[in-house]
């Protein structure tokens, strides 16, 4: 029975190197690779990222205080 979770459970520590690699792989995609993932959701995220100048103010505004904000894409 869980009463209080500890932060960053050690079970995940071994995965941090792996996730670092994954994050780097994913972020390189933004730099212009033409890979077309099968997931249409990932395609959409990549497309949005490629259209967004690096450092630009975020356009998407999802907020979680009990509201769904319509988004442009």
């Amino acid at each position: 029975m869980l009463t209080q979770m500890s932060v960053a459970e050690p079970v995940f520590e071994k995965d941090m190197t792996e996730i670092s690699t994954k994050l780097r792989q994913l972020r390189r995609l933004r730099a212009g690779t033409e890979l077309q993932p099968a997931s249409l959701h990932l395609q959409s995220a990549l497309q949005a990222a490629k259209c967004e100048p690096v450092g630009a103010a975020p356009e998407v505004s999802y907020i979680f205080i009990g509201i769904i904000i319509p988004t442009p894409n």
Partner: protein, 377 residues
């Protein structure tokens, strides 16, 4: 100066449901007891002027006015006509203004849907899943569930021809006692294509989640939804939380109070005109969001100087040491601000959902890289 473009108006401080997780009425904050039940028309007028003045002064290209509560439809249709008309007349030229409402759907009959269409108001409905889930918490004062009414409201909106943007989607509070796939299938069976999921606001380090067999019950729930959504692979089915997560994973910036870590610049205006930061912070203590500012005599931008508002504005810079050193910092952004709270050190903590967030992010990143590289998750 921070740029606010989302303005949440508390149309009412009352509700026709008694959901036990509601941060407005059921948690630490009791400020609703001192609010008028409905925002007065004079307060609407002052608020419209204040927001319009802010947008004009800082040349905001767009603004979103969100009607919230309590339950906003309790304000009545006349109130909404007045409010939207007032805002439309006040907002400066060059600032594209749109309107949205979050409702429990109980009162949303055909006349309401007609009015929302007429006013250009996007409607989102709170729905936690099938009746067995939804009606366990979203009940009226007599204890009766509201699933039937919520679904009827959704169907009325969906029937409205040619108005795709009329329906903003459904918002679902995560309930780890249920299987996420069941929730997702229920939504899809209703023809819902826009949905979002909210981790329970009531949990923080002073009140951590308890009673679950799994150490990561929230991740397990969200992962099962993610997998169902990912495998359906329907381009029109959107889950805001996962869309944000994917965008963050590929290096975009996303303005969210639950992911990312950019400053939160949304403004909340309570029924009496009180200017406040993101109102889920109400869960942290009675009167927590009270800044002592009011649209009737203060400019909106004054809120940004307030220490409480600064908590929401600090973004990544305000993360605790553990988060700053974390590889996932740019993705989770420390998670939902209220979920970091603990007495006495306030928000200088990781999220109480940290382990769940790590597991979820790891899973989603794995699903992405698997497609791109063929590597295993």
């Amino acid at each position: 100066m921070y740029a606010a473009s989302t303005f949440i108006l508390k149309a009412t401080s009352t509700c026709n449901l008694r959901c036990d997780y509601c941060y407005m009425f059921e948690l630490a904050d009791r400020s609703f007891e001192h609010q008028p039940p409905v925002m007065g028309s004079d307060v609407v007028d002052c608020t419209a002027r204040a927001i319009a003045g802010y947008c004009a002064k800082f040349r905001q290209p767009k603004a979103l006015i969100v009607f919230h509560g309590g339950e906003p439809t309790l304000a009545g249709q006349g109130w909404f006509r007045h409010a939207v008309k007032t805002f439309r007349s006040q907002m400066p030229p060059g600032c594209t203004t749109s309107f949205a409402m979050q409702t429990n759907g109980v009162l949303l009959d055909d006349a309401w849907v007609d009015l929302c269409a007429e006013l250009g108001l996007s409607v989102s409905v709170s729905l936690d899943g099938p009746p067995s889930v939804h009606d366990s918490q979203r009940v009226n004062a007599a204890g009766a569930g509201s699933h039937h009414d919520a679904v009827a409201a959704i169907e009325r909106i969906q029937r409205y021809a040619g108005m795709e943007h009329l329906f903003g989607g459904v918002l679902c509070v995560v309930n780890p006692n249920e299987d996420g796939r069941t929730i997702y299938r229920h939504f899809r069976s209703l023809g819902i294509t826009n949905m979002d999921f909210l981790l329970p606001v009531e949990a923080n380090w002073d009140h951590p989640p308890s009673g679950f067999a799994s150490p990561t019950p929230f991740a397990d729930y969200l992962i099962s939804i993610f997998d169902a959504w990912w495998s359906e692979n329907h381009p029109k089915v959107r889950i805001a939380y996962f869309d944000s997560l994917l965008r963050l994973l590929v290096g975009s910036r996303v303005h969210s109070d639950s992911l990312g870590g950019d400053p939160l610049t949304m403004i909340v205006v309570d029924c009496n005109g009180s200017i406040e930061p993101v109102d889920s912070l109400r869960s942290c203590g009675n009167g927590f969001t009270q800044l002592g500012l009011n649209t009737q005599h203060d400019p909106i931008e004054r809120a940004f100087q307030h220490p409480t508002f600064q908590l929401a504005l600090t973004g990544q810079e305000g993360l605790c040491q553990t988060c700053r050193e974390c590889e996932l910092r740019d993705v989770c952004g420390g998670g939902y601000l209220p979920s970091r709270f603990r007495q006495p050190n306030g928000f200088d903590n990781p999220s109480v959902y940290c382990t769940d967030l790590m597991k979820l992010i790891h899973h989603v990143a794995g699903a992405c890289t698997h497609q791109l590289t063929g590597s295993s998750q």
